[in-house]
C-alpha cells in the first residue's frame, strides 16, 4: 500500500494510537471535543512535533520530510480563515501560488460550486461558503491526501450537507480524505472507515457497518401509543423492552424479531398508533462504549438520494 501512515503518538492528548489509511478512502477520526482528533491530524500535517513514535505520510517521515509531505497534501485546518479583503478567486490563487504547481482557480470554484461568489470578498461570505472556499484551497495543489479538520462544525444543516457534497466529490477524484468530526452522522455518511477516539485512544475502529454491528445494540422497533392490551402482550413476550412516554422500544435480535412483534401486536387485539424501525447509529455505539453522549448531536435526519420521480404520460 502506498498511501500508508501510522501514528504511535505519545502525547498527553494522543495516547499511543496506531492506524493506517488506505489510498482512495475516506477515513474519519470521530470523537468528542478534546479527544485528540486535531492533535492527531496536525501531527500528520507536519504542524506539530510528535513526542515519540513513528508517523509516515505517503511513505515519508513527518519529522524529516515535512517539506516534501506539505507539497503533496492539502489541509483544511480547524477554524479556517482566508484573507478577508481578497476575493474567493484571489484567495484560491494566493494559496495556489504557495505551490510549484497548482490547479486553475476557476476549476476549483466550479468544483465547490461557488461560481456566483467568485469575486466576492472572503469576509462577506457565510460560514458555509467560507468552508467551501477552504475545501477548494485544500485541493489547490492537487494533493494526494486531503485533511479536513472539522469541516462542518458550526454550520447549519443545509450548509453542512453542501460541504458533504463537496467532500463526496473528492472521493470520485481518487483522493484520500482524512476527516475529523464530532458529528456521528457525518462520519457515517461520508467515511469508508472510522476510528472512534476518546481520551487520546481508539475505542472502536472499522467501517461504520462493522462498528455498528460489533458495538451497536441492533435495530430497534418503536411502537407508539400502545393501549394496555398491546402493552401487556409485548411485555409478556419481551420482558426487557423499554417503556418510554407511551412508547415501547424492543430490540430486534434477529431477522424474525420484527414479524414476531407484528404478530404479537395483531394477536393482542389492542390499539397502537405506529410502528417504527430504527437502525442503530454510531451515536448509539459511542453511547454504549463510553456511557456518554457526543456533543452537537445532529437532530436533522440524513436524506438519501432523492428518489427518481416516475414519469407520467407518454412513454
Amino acid at each position: 500500500m502506498r498511501d500508508l501512515f501510522k501514528t504511535y503518538g505519545n502525547l498527553k492528548a494522543v495516547d499511543r494510537i496506531s492506524f493506517d489509511v488506505n489510498a482512495g478512502e475516506v477515513f474519519s477520526l470521530l470523537g468528542p471535543n478534546g479527544a485528540g482528533k486535531t492533535t492527531t491530524v496536525e501531527i500528520l500535517e507536519c504542524l506539530r512535533p510528535l513526542t515519540s513514535g513513528e508517523v509516515k505520510v505517503l511513505g515519508m517521515d513527518v519529522n524529516r520530510d515535512a517539506n516534501k509531505i506539505k507539497r503533496r497534501i492539502g489541509v483544511l485546518p480547524q477554524d479556517f480563515n482566508a484573507f478577508d479583503l481578497l476575493t474567493v478567486k484571489e484567495n484560491i490563487e494566493f494559496f495556489g501560488g504557495m505551490y510549484d504547481k497548482s490547479i486553475d482557480a476557476d476549476e476549483l470554484i466550479d468544483a465547490v460550486d461557488l461560481r456566483e461568489k467568485r469575486d466576492e470578498y472572503f469576509k462577506n461570505l457565510s460560514g458555509g461558503l467560507k468552508q467551501r472556499v477552504g475545501v477548494a484551497i485544500s485541493m489547490v495543489n492537487d494533493p494526494e491526501i486531503v485533511f479536513l479538520d472539522e469541516p462542518t462544525t458550526g454550520l447549519d444543516p443545509k450548509a453542512r450537507r453542501d460541504v458533504w457534497g463537496v467532500i463526496r466529490s473528492m472521493k470520485t477524484k481518487d483522493k484520500t480524505v482524512v476527516l475529523t468530526t464530532h458529528y456521528m452522522e457525518e462520519a457515517e455518511v461520508l467515511s469508508d472507515r472510522v476510528g472512534i477516539i476518546d481520551h487520546g485512544k481508539f475505542i472502536a475502529f472499522g467501517t461504520p457497518k462493522e462498528i455498528i454491528d460489533k458495538h451497536g445494540s441492533g435495530s430497534r422497533c418503536i411502537i407508539s401509543n400502545c393501549d394496555d392490551r398491546c402493552l401487556a402482550a409485548l411485555q409478556g413476550q419481551w420482558p426487557s423492552a423499554e417503556k418510554n412516554n407511551g412508547e415501547i422500544i424492543i430490540r430486534l435480535e434477529s431477522k424474525n424479531s420484527l414479524p414476531e412483534v407484528i404478530y404479537t401486536l395483531d394477536r393482542s387485539g389492542g390499539n397502537y398508533e405506529q410502528i417504527q424501525v430504527t437502525r442503530p447509529t454510531l451515536e448509539d455505539v459511542f453511547l454504549s462504549l463510553t456511557g456518554k453522549k457526543l456533543v452537537g448531536v445532529e437532530t436533522e435526519p440524513v436524506r438519501g438520494k432523492k428518489k427518481k420521480k416516475g414519469r407520467r404520460g407518454v412513454d
Partner: protein, 364 residues
C-alpha cells in the same frame, strides 16, 4: 521561493489598497504632523507688524524709521500723530507700539544742549513677537547712536539664522517625521498582521503550505518598505510644496530607512510574540512608540533636553534613525550620518535575530 514571496507580497498589497482607512492614515498621519508643526513654527520666520506713532515727524525720525524698515524684519504701520494712543492700542489690540518723541530731531543736531532722546516701546512682554521687535528697534537705535558718535557707520546689522544655509524648524522636523513614520508604519503593521493571522488561523493555514517563515517575513518586510517609501515620498513632496524645504534622499538615508524598517518590524514581531490579543498588542506598541516619539528628539532637538533626558534618548534606536536622516538629508554631514546609521544597523541585527528566535511559526 521568489515566486512565493511575490505572491504573498501581492496579497498584502491588495488587502492594503482595499482597506481604505489604513491606507489613508498611513499617509495622513505624517502629513498632519508636518502641516501642524510646520504651521506653528514657521511663524517665527516671517515679519512682524510694528505700529509707530511718529510725534517728531522730522527728517531724523524719517531716516531712523527707514533704517528700521530696511532690516526687512518689521512691517511699519503708522498711527496718526493726533490719535489718542491708549485708546488706539485698546481698539486695535496691539502688542507693540513705538513712540518717537517730539524732541527726536533735536538729539541729532550737533552742539545742541540736550543730546538725548527717549524712544518708547509700548509692548506686551508676554508676546514673544514684541520682544523680537524690541530687539530689532534697539539694534537700529544702537547703530544710530554709533553713527552719531563717530560720524560713520562702524557696525551694520543684518538678520540671519543660526545655521548658515538658512535651515529652520521644518528642515529639522521633516527627517524626524520620516523616522517616526518608518517606526509607526512597520511596528503597527507587524503587530496587527501577526496577531490577526495567528488568531484567525491564517498562519496555521500558511504553515500547511510549503512557504517558510523566512519567505513570509521577507515578503512582509518588502511590502513594508514599499509603504514606508510611499509615505516618505508624500512627506517630501508636501514639505517642498508647503514649506519650500530642500532635502534629498541620499544613499545613507535610504540605507537607514531600510535598516530601521527591519528594526521596527522585528520589534513588532517581538511584541506580537508575547501579547496574543490584537488590541492589547497594539496598545503595547503604542506604549513603546509614543514615549519614544517624544524622547528621541523628533519634535525638539536633543540639545533642548535636560541632560538626564538626553541620556535616555541615547539608548533609543529612534534617536539614531532621526539623527542619521537629519545629518544626511539636511545638514549634509555624511560622517555623522554614517556613524548614526551604523548604530541603527547594530540595533537592527540584535532585534532581527531576537525577533526570529522569539516568533514561533510552529505550534507546540
Amino acid at each position: 521561493m521568489a515566486n512565493r514571496i511575490i505572491v504573498a507580497l501581492k496579497g498584502e498589497a491588495k488587502g492594503f489598497y482595499r482597506n481604505k482607512s489604513t491606507m489613508f492614515w498611513t499617509v495622513a498621519f505624517p502629513l498632519l504632523l508636518i502641516l501642524l508643526f510646520g504651521a506653528i513654527f514657521s511663524a517665527s520666520g516671517g515679519t512682524y507688524d510694528l505700529y509707530v506713532q511718529d510725534l517728531s515727524d522730522s527728517q531724523a525720525s524719517h531716516q531712523f524709521l527707514e533704517a528700521v524698515n530696511l532690516t526687512g524684519s518689521v512691517n511699519l504701520k503708522y498711527i496718526d500723530r493726533q490719535a489718542n494712543l491708549d485708546q488706539y492700542i485698546k481698539d486695535n489690540s496691539l502688542s507693540a507700539v513705538l513712540v518717537v518723541p517730539t524732541n527726536f530731531q533735536m538729539a541729532f543736531v550737533p552742539g545742541a544742549g540736550n543730546n538725548t532722546t527717549q524712544l518708547t516701546m509700548r509692548m506686551d512682554p508676554s508676546q514673544s513677537s514684541s520682544n523680537v521687535v524690541f530687539s530689532i528697534v534697539s539694534a537700529v537705535a544702537n547703530q544710530a547712536n554709533l553713527a552719531l558718535a563717530q560720524g560713520s557707520n562702524v557696525i551694520t546689522m543684518g538678520r540671519a539664522d543660526i545655521t548658515s544655509a538658512g535651515f529652520n524648524y521644518i528642515d529639522f522636523f521633516i527627517p524626524g517625521v520620516i523616522a517616526l513614520t518608518t517606526m509607526t508604519t512597520t511596528i503597527f503593521w507587524m503587530v496587527s498582521v501577526m496577531t490577526r493571522y495567528r488568531n484567525n488561523g491564517i498562519f496555521k493555514k500558511l504553515t500547511t503550505t510549503p512557504i517558510t517563515r523566512m519567505e513570509w517575513l521577507t515578503s512582509q518586510i518588502l511590502w513594508q518598505l514599499f509603504v514606508v517609501f510611499l509615505s516618505i515620498a508624500v512627506i517630501m513632496v508636501v514639505g517642498m510644496l508647503a514649506f519650500n524645504t530642500h532635502m534629498s534622499l541620499t544613499p545613507v538615508a535610504i540605507i537607514t530607512i531600510v535598516l530601521s524598517s527591519a528594526l521596527f518590524s522585528s520589534m513588532g514581531m517581538i511584541i506580537a510574540r508575547f501579547i496574543k490579543e490584537e488590541e492589547a498588542a497594539s496598545a503595547a506598541a503604542n506604549a513603546i512608540t509614543f514615549p519614544m516619539m517624544f524622547l528621541a528628539g523628533i519634535f525638539f532637538p536633543l540639545s533642548m533636553f535636560p541632560s538626564w533626558l538626553a541620556a535616555v534618548a541615547n539608548v533609543l534606536p529612534l534617536t539614531y534613525v532621526g539623527n542619521a536622516l537629519r545629518d544626511s538629508m539636511v545638514y549634509d554631514n555624511i560622517a555623522s550620518a554614517t556613524n548614526n546609521m551604523l548604530v541603527v544597523a547594530g540595533f537592527t541585527v540584535v532585534l532581527f535575530i531576537a525577533g526570529i528566535l522569539f516568533s514561533k511559526w510552529k505550534t507546540e
